[in-house]
């Protein structure tokens, strides 16, 4: 949930002066986005650790935050960097996705048994295809679709040019389509 810029600005200023409780309110406000971002990039297993570490690191870098700018994309940039470090050091993303896929994932909505089976198969195939994507494409897809960030926010979060996000998204979706079609042909 995006807090108002004014409220965030006041909390940030108080946090810069050492008001930890004010920062705690910012954590409550953005922890859902932060955990989602960390999970999308590094995997569910390390998402909470990565998000918590990112909040602490963001606190250390608050003096670099430009007053008046929206807090969310700036914070998510920090989260993404921390999550990528976790991914590099643990490589848990692959394991987490695989475990989740083996569990069959969660039901997406109330459907008929047949629809649900098809959806689960499609979801499982999609996860497999996503997992097989090179990291540079997977990060863009995760931010844009799993986190529902705009192209602009995705670019800011990953530290990329907007054009790069656009082109990587297009290539990533092409690759996913090809991969999924191969799965269908094989079935």
């Amino acid at each position: 949930m995006e807090g108002s810029v004014t409220d965030d600005a006041e909390l940030i200023e108080r946090a810069k002066r050492g008001d930890v409780d004010a920062y705690g309110e910012l954590v409550r406000r953005y922890q859902h986005d932060a955990r989602r971002t960390a999970a999308a990039i590094a995997g569910v297993a390390v998402a909470d650790d990565a998000a918590q570490e990112a909040f602490v690191r963001a606190y250390d870098f608050l003096h670099r935050f430009r007053p008046g700018a929206p807090f969310r994309p700036w914070l998510l940039t920090v989260v993404a960097n921390v999550a990528r470090n976790h991914r590099r050091s643990t490589n848990r993303w692959t394991r987490t996705l695989r475990q989740s896929r083996e569990r069959g994932g969660q039901p997406l909505a109330a459907r008929s048994a047949e629809d649900e089976a098809l959806a689960r198969e499609r979801g499982g195939n999609l996860r497999t295809a996503l997992e097989a994507l090179p990291v540079r494409y997977r990060d863009v897809v995760s931010c844009r679709y799993l986190l529902d960030l705009s192209e602009e926010e995705t670019a800011r979060t990953l530290g990329l040019a907007r054009g790069t996000v656009k082109s990587r998204l297009s290539r990533a979706l092409d690759r996913l389509e090809r991969q999924l079609n191969r799965e269908v042909d094989r079935a």
Binding site: G18, V20, D21, Y23, G24, E25, V27, R28, Q31, A34, R35, R36, A39, A40, V44, A45, V46, A47, D48, D49, A51, Q52, E53, F55, V56, Y59, N85, S89, T90, S100, G105, Q106, L108, R122, G123, L126, R127, L130, V141, Y145, L146, L147, D148, S170, L173, L176, E177, L180
Partner: protein
């Protein structure tokens, strides 16, 4: 066909994965853990050692050096009593048996956090990066002991003698001796407080560690070398942290145990 149209179904499927992600993440409030960590870091270092205790700590270090060189039995006894924490006894004398620099950590049997908690009380750090130990071990030594193992990673170097980033050991029982530490010359021991609990931070050289059986007899024929370590007592638990970390970082991690 334009990209947007071509990928519409795929985009919808990708967005649907978000619900799976949320379901797997569940609800969790990180704010308490984050603010606790920030508050612990903001506490001035001076507060870690109470002024009166700090004078004692300085005297203690001097006493240790004297005890090491002169080996006066009465002085040694006074120092060791002062350093004893819970089930840990600190001796200022040569170790009683051979010491292996590569001895196995002897943590007991590998288990899970849930199984360990079913047998004894266990606390886990809530500091960033330490909420989920990579390995959990249980030993029946003393009243039962649990070891939490954190592998080395960027920012958490591998300790020379354990090969892991951080080892947290928790022993039940307040007075029964089950862990013996033997300090050698040059080892520094500082008294610290962890929240309101008394503790000792040992650094500056190698010391050795031996374990006792439940009947008080020593169960190891050889000890192992140890680097920096923090020992303190919290309620019925004696807690020991070991790793190549500074005193302040170890205290911060210890204060986050919950």
């Amino acid at each position: 066909m334009p990209d947007q149209e071509r990928h519409a179904l795929l985009e919808a499927d990708l967005r649907a994965l978000t619900r799976e992600l949320d379901a797997e993440l569940g609800d969790l409030d990180l704010s308490a853990a984050v603010t606790r960590e920030l508050e612990a870091r903001q506490a001035p270092v001076q507060q870690l050692v109470r002024p009166r205790r700090r004078r004692l700590a300085v005297a203690l270090v001097v006493s240790i050096v004297i005890a090491a060189t002169a080996a006066i039995p009465s002085a040694r006894a006074a120092v060791t009593n002062f350093l004893d924490i819970g089930v840990v006894r600190v001796h200022r004398e040569p170790p009683p048996g051979p010491v292996s620099p590569t001895a196995d950590l002897q943590l007991g049997e590998r288990t899970t956090l849930a199984d360990a908690r079913a047998q004894v009380s266990v606390v886990v750090p809530t500091a960033t990066g330490f909420r989920t130990p990579e390995e959990v071990w249980f030993t029946p030594v003393g009243g039962g002991g649990v070891s939490l193992v954190y592998r080395a990673r960027p920012g958490l170097p591998a300790a020379e003698h354990t090969g892991v980033g951080l080892l947290v050991q928790e022993f039940a029982g307040e007075t029964q001796t089950s862990v013996n530490k033997f300090l050698t010359a040059g080892v520094r021991a500082e008294q610290v407080t962890i929240n309101s609990d008394r503790g000792v931070f040992i650094s500056g050289g190698e010391h050795t560690i031996f374990y006792n059986a439940t009947d008080g007899t020593q169960i190891q024929t050889s000890g192992r070398l140890v680097g920096n370590a923090l020992i303190f007592q919290r309620g019925p638990l004696t807690i020991r942290l070991e790793g190549d970390l500074s005193r302040d970082r170890m205290v911060a991690i210890a204060e986050s145990l919950a």
